[in-house]
Symmetry: none
Subunit: 192 residues, 4 copies
């Protein structure tokens, strides 16, 4: 065991600690030593993996933004109906949020922040582009709202539910998730 790949264990610990603290306290109120302490590393160690606090937050954002993108796009039912696609996105979004609740909050909160660099922002835009495509293909079935507006409503409603669950007002169980999925679908489809 001459050189256990305990290599980037520290990097992972730093990223996890930082994710939690940034999400809870915000970027500006989180100190580097507090990240180091939570990650159980020396504070100098953080600078062996990341050039600065800003780079750290951007790397984490990009990493999770990428994961979210793949969570939503993997096994995407390209040939399926619009409803099937909608269900796919909703289900994946719910699963992602359930598995990585902190990362989900982090992504939501950081995107509207001046701390992200161009590359981080572009990761987000890629996801929006994908969703736009989806909506555009089902255009006929939806209400006469722009793709961006439809996405904003669905995404916003989902985030609203997550926030209510975070503050303890609701419990995001499968029933609630399914019922909400139906409600929002009913909201966005065209009815004459």
């Amino acid at each position: 065991m001459l050189k256990p790949p305990h290599d980037s264990e520290k990097k992972l610990a730093i990223e996890e600690a930082a994710l939690e603290l940034f999400t809870k306290q915000g970027f500006g109120s989180t100190t580097v030593p507090s990240i180091a302490e939570k990650a159980r590393v020396g504070s100098g160690t953080i600078y062996r993996y990341f050039e600065s606090k800003e780079e750290l937050v951007n790397r984490i954002f990009q990493q999770w933004q990428e994961r979210l993108y793949h969570a939503l796009t993997d096994a995407y039912p390209e040939k399926g109906s619009t409803r099937e696609k909608y269900d796919h996105i909703w289900g994946r979004l719910a699963a992602f949020q359930k598995n990585y609740p902190v990362a989900f909050d982090f992504l939501e909160m950081m995107y509207y922040t001046p701390h992200l660099d161009r590359e981080s922002k572009s990761g987000r835009l890629r996801l929006l582009k994908f969703l736009n495509q989806l909506v555009h293909e089902g255009r006929e079935e939806f209400r006469p709202l722009s793709s961006d507006a439809l996405i904003a409503i669905v995404w916003g409603a989902f985030v609203g539910l997550v926030r209510a669950s975070t503050t303890g007002r609701i419990s995001l169980d499968d029933d609630l998730l399914n019922e909400s999925r139906e409600a929002i679908w009913k909201g966005i489809i065209h009815t004459r």
Copy 2:
């Protein structure tokens, strides 16, 4: 020195400058001198009106939370139909956001922050209580979702639209607002 002033042009300037900076950069990344500069006052002046940066942010939050509460509850159609009540809330929310877009973003972003004190949080809860009441009274007409869930969906969808407008993806004009109001209503009402 025995009685700090309670209202003045300077106090207002400080509150407005702080509102904008906190909203754009977050609490932790906003410096007191930068607030003073934007408000065109000496940084010491801020401490004549507020005990600390924390008190400042809480006063601003409480003030705007209160205004939002009144915006939604004033002239509330107590005797009207559920739909009339829904339209009232939606319309007032849209008007508030249109008149005070920065304050709206501020309230949304700050609420999920550890910088708020108990009193600030309770201001928010009062609003939620009011909305709960409304939903509860129309219970029959809504989908089988908890009041909190229904509120989360409507509020979240609205916030989603605001965010999309902030990032320039949509324009929050009356048509869009009306169409969205209908969409979300369709989403939350009970249909057999």
Copy 3:
């Protein structure tokens, strides 16, 4: 006495403390807090007057380089003989070194450092240009050496004497200074 011009007293104290420490220990080995302590100011105060440690060292260099320039050029005997010009320079140099021995050492040591910015270097070049002019005008009387070489010899010899005095090996009194002035003059003039 409502507002004594004790204004830049602190700035002066900082500059003097920094001059001494930089000269004694070198730029890299001098810490900002040590400068603050010697100047009897808070360390944050230094940053109200100078953007960074680098700017501090450059401002001091430029200031003293300028003073040295004026010390050598003021009352310069434009119409005098070459020997009179030489005596003027020598005398002013000696006086400057006597009055500001630390600043003289500082200028000598810093010029060969990568910490100086372009403007600082150009201040030095201005002095060299002036000396070049002087030598060039007396060209006939000097040994067949380039102006720069002649300047290097005279300036270097003077610096050598200063260093020997700093380390206590000699005492730079008037007799020594005069005798040295003669010696070096004899060295650089043309003899057939």
Copy 4:
């Protein structure tokens, strides 16, 4: 582990890298990792050969001071005339500077630094003692200046030429070196 190595390619590489960096940037502005990188060794390796950064700089100083001493004293014309001795020193100094320009600058700059320990300083004093002896023996032929002053003038003038060459203002070729040697000799000898 009981006996640190005393000579090796790595040690030489470290010493050479350190010599260059200390000379260019000064002691305090040179980091140990940067020395390691330039020497192409691990930074831990440096500590196998030297106890600390301070010891490193002192060892290098002593080593080169010793070499300079031998360069000037080897084949010294004990029985020669004063002028022959002067020419010997001048020629050896020029050769040393030509062969080891960085080491020469290093010795000049470090001697006036608080980073040298007693032993390093005494190495320098030994050289000065030797030069003093030389001057003392030729006392009659020199101007009425103390040995230390005469040494300071000659050494300083030479250093001045080196500095001018380092900054690109002159080219230290043989002609210039010879002419300068003559000039300075003329300067220091007694003339009635």
